[in-house]
C-alpha cells in the first residue's frame, strides 16, 4: 500500500455512507445512502443494466460523493437480483425493477426535510427513472444515455458479449448474435456475462420504452412542468458508457467535466443554493 493511500485522511462524508439492505417483495435491495445533514435536495441514482454495473461502478459512486459533498443526499442501489442485492436474476421483470425505484423514491422523499427529490437514471436505469417520473414521482429528472427502449440495451449488451465468445470457442461452436436473438425470440433463455436472461425479460424489453414526451423533438420540461435534463454521453464518458476497446478502464479518471454542469443544472433548475465543494 502506498503511503498516500494508507495515510490519506478520510473525509467526514465517508463515515456517512450507509450501506444496507432495503426489503422488497421476496428480496432485499443493496442500498448505499450518502447521508447529508440539512440537505438541499435528495437524489435517487438508478444505475445501468446488470452487465454494465461493474464497469460503471466507480464513476457512479464518485458522482454520489460529489453530490453529497454539495449537500445533495444521494441513494444508490443494486437492481433486484443483481450485484449485492438478493433475488434471482432469472425471475426478474421490468415491473419488479420499476417497483423498486418507486419504493426507494418514496422512502427517500420521506427521510426528513421537505426538499426536492431528483430521479437520475443511467442507461437502462434511465428508462426506469423516466417511467417513474412519468407516473408523477420526483421533482426533477436527469437521464444519461437512456435508450428509447430496453431491447436496445439488451441487444447491444449481447452483441458486445458475442465477439469475444467467437474467439474463445472452437469454430464449430461459434454462433452469430442473430442466433441468440432467435433463441430469445423463440422463448429460450440465454446466458450473457454470467446472467441467465429469461426469454420473458427479452419479450418485455421490446415494449419497455422511454415515454414519448421525452423523445425529441418533444420538450419534456414543458410537458411535465418539472425540469428534465437529457444527456447523451459520448465515448469520453467511459466507463459510464462503454466506449470501445481501449477506453473505459481508467479508474483514476476525473469526471468533473461531466459532474459540474449537471450539478449546476440541478441547482439552477430547482433554485437551490450552490455549494463550492
Amino acid at each position: 500500500m502506498s503511503e498516500s493511500l494508507q495515510t490519506a485522511r478520510l473525509p467526514h462524508s465517508i463515515l456517512d455512507e450507509r450501506p444496507g439492505y432495503f426489503p422488497v417483495d421476496g428480496a432485499s435491495l443493496y442500498t448505499v445512502l450518502h447521508q447529508v445533514e440539512n440537505p438541499v435536495a435528495r437524489i435517487l441514482l438508478v444505475g445501468p443494466f446488470a452487465s454494465e454495473r461493474h464497469t460503471s461502478y466507480r464513476p457512479w459512486i464518485q458522482w454520489a460523493r460529489y453530490l453529497a459533498a454539495r449537500r445533495i443526499e444521494a441513494l444508490r442501489y443494486d437492481y433486484r437480483g443483481v450485484g449485492e442485492s438478493t433475488g434471482v436474476f432469472e425471475e426478474m421483470t421490468f415491473a419488479c425493477w420499476i417497483d423498486d425505484v418507486e419504493r426507494l423514491a418514496a422512502w427517500l422523499r420521506k427521510r426528513g426535510e421537505d426538499v426536492p427529490l431528483i430521479l437520475h437514471g443511467l442507461e437502462l436505469g434511465g428508462l426506469l427513472a423516466a417511467r417513474n417520473f412519468h407516473n408523477g414521482q420526483g421533482d426533477a429528472l436527469i437521464l444519461w444515455s437512456a435508450p428509447v427502449n430496453a431491447n436496445k440495451v439488451l441487444r447491444s449488451t449481447l452483441q458486445r458479449w458475442i465477439g469475444p465468445q467467437q474467439l474463445l470457442k472452437p469454430e464449430d461452436e461459434r454462433r452469430p448474435a442473430s442466433y441468440y436473438f432467435r433463441l430469445l425470440d423463440e422463448g429460450q433463455s440465454v446466458e450473457v456475462d454470467g446472467y441467465e436472461w429469461p426469454a420473458e425479460l427479452w419479450r418485455q424489453s421490446l415494449n419497455f420504452e422511454l415515454p414519448a414526451a421525452m423523445i425529441p423533438p418533444n420538450n419534456p420540461t414543458d410537458f411535465y412542468r418539472r425540469p428534465v435534463q437529457i444527456v447523451t454521453l459520448g465515448k469520453n464518458a467511459a466507463p459510464l458508457v462503454l466506449g470501445g476497446l481501449l477506453t473505459g478502464f481508467e479508474e483514476g479518471k476525473d469526471f468533473c467535466w461531466l459532474f459540474a454542469p449537471n450539478y449546476d443544472w440541478i441547482t439552477s433548475s430547482l433554485g437551490i443554493p450552490s455549494e463550492a465543494s
Binding site: 493511500l5 432495503f22 461502478y57 474463445l168 470457442k169 441467465e196 476497446l245 481508467e250
Partner: protein, 317 residues
C-alpha cells in the same frame, strides 16, 4: 427499515488501521451452522477485487461462491480494497502496475488479521482472481493468518515489462478483457518462442518480484489451489501453444511437499469463470479442496465471537 444484516449475510466495515474497508460477510448456514461442536475455530475465505471490479465480481459470481462456501461451513468475506467498489480511497493511475508491485499487500495482510481476530477464525484462505491473485500471493507471503490460497487465472509475467512501448490503457485492457486475453496469450508466446529460453530459464518478461513471493509462500508450506480456464480456441497453432513457458511447472519445483499445489483446468468457460460451467466447476473444485485441506470442525464460533465483538464496539457495522 434498512438493515445491515440478513439471515445469511451482513454488511461489515473493517475499521482497523484507520482504513474503512467495506465488505460483505456470508454467514455459515444450515447444517454447517447446526452441527457445530462450537469449541473449535473455523477457517474463513476472503475474496479480493481483481483490478477494479467490485466485490461481487463479474456476473456476481463471487456472491454465488461465497454463499456456497459459507453453506459448507466456511464463513466467507468479500472485500472492496481501498479505492475499489464501495471502499473510499484514491486509485493509482496505473492500477495494474500498482498491483503488480504488491501495492495492496500490506492492507490485505492487515485486514486478514483484523478479520480473523474479529470473527474468531483460526485463519483465512485468500481467494484471488487474476490481478487479485497477484495481491493474494504478495499478502500471503507476509501474513501469518493466511493459511492457503485459491487463485483463478493467475499470471506470472509483468505487464509493464511485457509491453513497455504500449500505453497504460492498452496494457490494462489487454490484462482484463476477453479479447485482450487472447492477444496477450499470443503475444507472450511469440516473444518466448523467439527467445528460445533454456530449460528452467525464466523468460525475460517474467515477473521476478512476484515469483520470489511465490517461493516464499511455498516455503511457508501454504496449500494452493490454482484454477485455469482452457486455452482460447483461437490460439490454434500447436507451435504457439507448445512455446508457452511452463510457469506452473517452475513454481511447483519450489513446493515443499508433493500435494502443496493443486491445479485444475476448467473447460467451457472464459477468463472470468462467470458462466454456468465456470461457476459450477470453481465451486466444486474449491469445496473439495477446502474440505481436504481445511476440514471444518465448528460453525457457530465465528458468529458468536463476531456478535460479542460487535456488541463491544470493536467492529464497525
Amino acid at each position: 427499515m434498512i438493515s445491515s444484516e440478513l439471515e445469511t449475510r451482513e454488511l461489515i466495515t473493517l475499521g482497523g488501521d484507520g482504513v474503512l474497508l467495506r465488505a460483505t460477510y456470508h454467514k455459515t448456514t444450515g447444517k454447517a451452522r447446526n452441527d457445530a461442536t462450537a469449541l473449535h475455530k473455523r477457517m474463513g475465505v476472503a475474496f479480493l477485487n481483481p483490478l477494479s471490479t467490485p466485490r461481487a465480481l463479474i456476473g456476481d459470481s463471487a456472491v454465488y461462491w461465497a454463499s456456497s462456501f459459507a453453506a459448507r461451513g466456511y464463513p466467507s468475506f468479500r472485500l472492496d480494497l481501498p479505492g475499489l467498489g464501495d471502499t473510499f480511497g484514491e486509485v493509482p493511475n496505473e492500477l495494474i502496475t500498482f498491483i503488480n508491485d504488491g501495492g495492496y499487500a500490506a492492507i490485505v495482510s492487515s485486514k486478514i488479521k483484523e478479520l480473523t481476530d474479529s470473527f474468531g477464525l483460526k485463519g483465512a484462505v485468500i481467494y484471488g482472481h487474476c490481478a487479485g491473485g497477484t495481491t493474494a500471493v504478495y499478502a500471503a507471503a507476509e501474513c501469518k493468518e493466511c493459511k492457503g490460497l485459491i487463485l483463478t487465472a493467475p499470471y506470472f509475467n509483468a505487464a509493464n515489462l511485457l509491453t513497455p512501448k504500449l500505453s497504460p490503457q492498452m496494457v490494462d485492457w489487454a490484462r482484463r478483457s476477453k479479447v485482450g486475453e487472447l492477444l496477450r496469450a499470443t503475444y507472450t508466446r511469440m516473444r518466448e518462442l523467439r527467445k528460445k529460453p533454456g530449460k528452467g530459464t525464466l523468460p525475460g518478461n517474467a515477473h521476478f518480484g512476484l515469483l520470489s513471493h511465490w517461493k516464499k509462500v511455498l516455503s511457508n508450506g501454504l496449500p494452493i489451489l490454482i484454477l485455469k480456464s482452457a486455452e482460447p480456441a483461437a490460439l490454434g497453432s500447436s507451435k504457439l501453444r507448445s512455446s508457452n513457458f511452463d510457469y506452473l511447472g517452475y513454481i511447483a519445483s519450489f513446493a515443499v511437499r508433493s500435494n502443496q499445489i493443486t491445479v485444475k483446468v476448467i473447460e467451457g468457460t472464459d477468463h472470468s469463470f462467470a458462466n454456468r460451467a465456470g461457476r459450477a466447476a470453481v465451486r466444486q473444485y474449491t469445496e473439495a479442496w477446502l474440505s481436504e485441506y481445511f476440514p471444518q470442525e465448528s460453525a457457530d464460533a465465528p458468529l458468536l465471537q463476531h456478535q460479542s465483538l460487535q456488541a463491544s464496539g470493536k467492529l464497525v457495522s
